[in-house]
Symmetry: C2
Subunit: 412 residues, 2 copies
């Protein structure tokens, strides 16, 4: 899915050639085109590299930003002996690095830059930081730990590997160039030296800008259009559903959001053996264009009560798209902003592939949890997927100029 | 590195908006813009998705084609009992699938298409097929096995994992969209059912089109510009160096090439600790712009005899770029067309990352072997890399319309 941006602006748009990317770009406060870096002798960028997403803002970038072609997720644990002070210094370094890199500049901390992103523009790079449950214990900040970080309930479909879940600190990197993304990952890892070490790390991808003329949503590795029912930033209640309000609790989370991160393995061999019609019944939508089985286009509302000639519901009771609908879950809504993953094949030729599911919400107990509980009780899709890891992170609001991400927590 | 194309043409070029991609696109025989697929109700593509590389031609696509943003390599072994006939049928299926997918159409073999590439254009997809040493034994075709497939010599820097090397059949997939590439990988795997199983599979990436304004070469994960000294299709002796001549031996390899494929792990932690000046001495070129340490620009020839104020050679004797120069290796030349790889971090946070080195030549004994022998004796870069797997494949010439790749071997 590709939600409209609230952070980004395209230089191509400024140049009047927007539309070539297939991205629905919006323009809002604080945005600016990619400007030449200091002492810059690089030729002017006009392509996908020129797109820049501002680091500073009310919310962190990488939440309602259009999803990028390449993503890295990483969790870090504080090293033994490191606490609040070391974490504050680390978030200060990380924020400075993220500010520089998202502007297309070189990293400066920890010696010379690796040079991996030299010649490339910002390429819509975003870096997003979060805190996990364990962080607050290790940093002596239990009193400021949000209740919303309480461990998620167990679901019967879970096959979770704890080593690839949770973690003290979480970083989400997205960019439309894989080398720009890797450059950021290495720079942030270097910044962490002495304070935190990598607990787990995952790589993902989405459609490249311009690879499709479809404006709104992308497909996943099941071939399914994904994200149709996502809340849109233009929705009246978007902010209320996705972001912690300015008078929220705890205060340091104002403007922040909670990320549920799950590595969802797709059992593609089984899925692909299923006839098209059966696949469509599992989802409740047509594969070709994402329209509900009751007709229309991708954005047409489904007729949930309609029956076919056989008297059965056209959209089955256990269809994935029926179960996940906000109006079937007390209004529960989350912004899904996933990456696909593919980490090769096992010895039997089975692909280790699926979805790095990332869902954003103001409160997991009113977003992910009720929907997943319901899916757990009877989702037709469940036999084709396996949740292999899970993380829950408190992602603070964006940093203002001169601030670093998490400062309101770490200096409170 | 991004060699000019001899296969591809950009629809954007036709529309007069070329240059936006940062690719140096050439136009030569047999090329055509992406045309609407039959019964197509998709909106017209104008972005990176519209670029199409022709499947048919004198040479297979994916050799002198500009390198793509995403790559999959896979080796297959024939199943027990499968021989020449099954291989011929498989190559017929594979060629038909490659022809369809590179035109932006759906796969047809093995049931319904997975739909992963629906809505996307061809995105410069290429699929390239090769045969390994063991294939000829299993298919009863020893007499047609090229001498050039004799096992490569061992090098002292090798740490090879046989399970990730060689194989009966080799497939190289490249595309500027990761879902288009994965779609092709799955379709080809499905085509192989009953005839061959995956032996090993690797994923790689390069710069996205348009992420950089640099026209010719890309960087690797060491931050180094890579491919400067590559033969260029415009060179007088390019074809002679890269492709088997039309009267070559064996006859079925006319128009073909040999691919040396190596997973080269980069020891990035050690490399990145090296001061910039030392990195530049290891390579013999400036990191910023790839110019030789004796001055000029990336394409300036190095002054190999020049000494500095201290009397030492400016470009050290063991500098990587000095050792690999054709004029230091009896004219040996190969076309390097690699992908970078990053398969996560190990438990100590060490990245499993480096280069999927793919080198093309008319004869490995006059391309890869002499250069690698020389590197093996004293390349300053060798302490920062590790060759972890190796494959050598005979890649036949391209198929004409109505032919399949390898037909001249399998029906000879």
């Amino acid at each position: 899915m590709t939600p409209p941006a609230d952070h980004s602006i395209s230089r191509r748009r400024l140049l009047g050639t927007a539309g070539a990317t297939g991205l629905a770009l919006g323009v809002a406060g604080g945005a600016a085109g990619y400007a030449s870096a200091p002492s810059d002798d690089r030729p002017a960028l006009t392509g996908v590299g020129a797109d820049r997403v501002m680091f500073h803002g009310k919310h962190q970038a990488g939440i309602s930003t259009p999803v990028q072609a390449r993503g890295h997720l990483a969790a870090f644990d504080l090293v033994s002996g490191a606490g609040r002070r070391e974490a504050a210094n680390l978030l200060r370094r990380w924020s400075a690095t993220a500010e520089r890199l998202t502007a297309g500049e070189a990293a400066s901390a920890g010696g010379h830059d690796t040079g991996i992103a030299l010649d490339a523009g910002p390429s819509s790079l975003t870096v997003t930081f979060g805190f996990g449950h364990g962080f607050f214990t290790r940093a002596g900040l239990e009193k400021l730990r949000p209740d919303a970080l309480d461990p998620l309930p167990e679901f019967s479909s879970d096959h979770l590997d704890a080593k690839r879940g949770n973690g003290d600190l979480w970083v989400q990197i997205g960019a439309n160039d894989a080398l720009v993304a890797f450059h950021a990952l290495r720079a942030l890892q270097k910044d962490a030296a002495g304070a935190a070490t990598v607990r787990w790390q995952m790589n993902g991808f989405n459609r490249s800008p311009g690879a499709t003329a479809r404006p709104m949503t992308t497909r996943n590795l099941m071939g399914q259009i994904d994200g149709t029912d996502n809340p849109a930033p233009a929705d009246k209640d978007f902010d209320q559903r996705i972001f912690v309000p300015s008078d929220g609790d705890p205060a340091w989370m104002a403007g922040g959001s909670y990320a549920v991160v799950r590595r969802i393995r797709m059992l593609l061999d089984q899925w692909e053996k299923l006839p098209l019609k059966d696949q469509e019944n599992v989802i409740g939508r047509r594969k070709s264009d994402g329209a509900p089985l009751t007709g229309g286009t991708e954005t047409t509302g489904p007729k949930l009560d309609r029956t076919g000639p056989d008297g059965d519901l056209v959209i089955p009771l256990n269809a994935h798209s029926r179960i996940t609908r906000p109006d079937q879950n007390g209004g529960a809504a989350m912004l899904r902003r996933p990456f696909s993953f593919h980490d090769g094949f096992d010895a039997d030729g089975v692909p280790d592939a699926g979805l790095l599911f990332i869902a954003w919400q103001a409160d997991p107990l009113r977003g992910f949890v009720p929907v997943q509980r319901k899916l757990d009780r009877g989702d037709a899709l469940s036999e084709f997927i396996r949740h292999e890891s899970s993380g829950l992170f408190a992602v603070p609001g964006g940093a203002a100029k001169g601030e670093y991400v998490g400062q309101r927590l770490l200096e409170s």
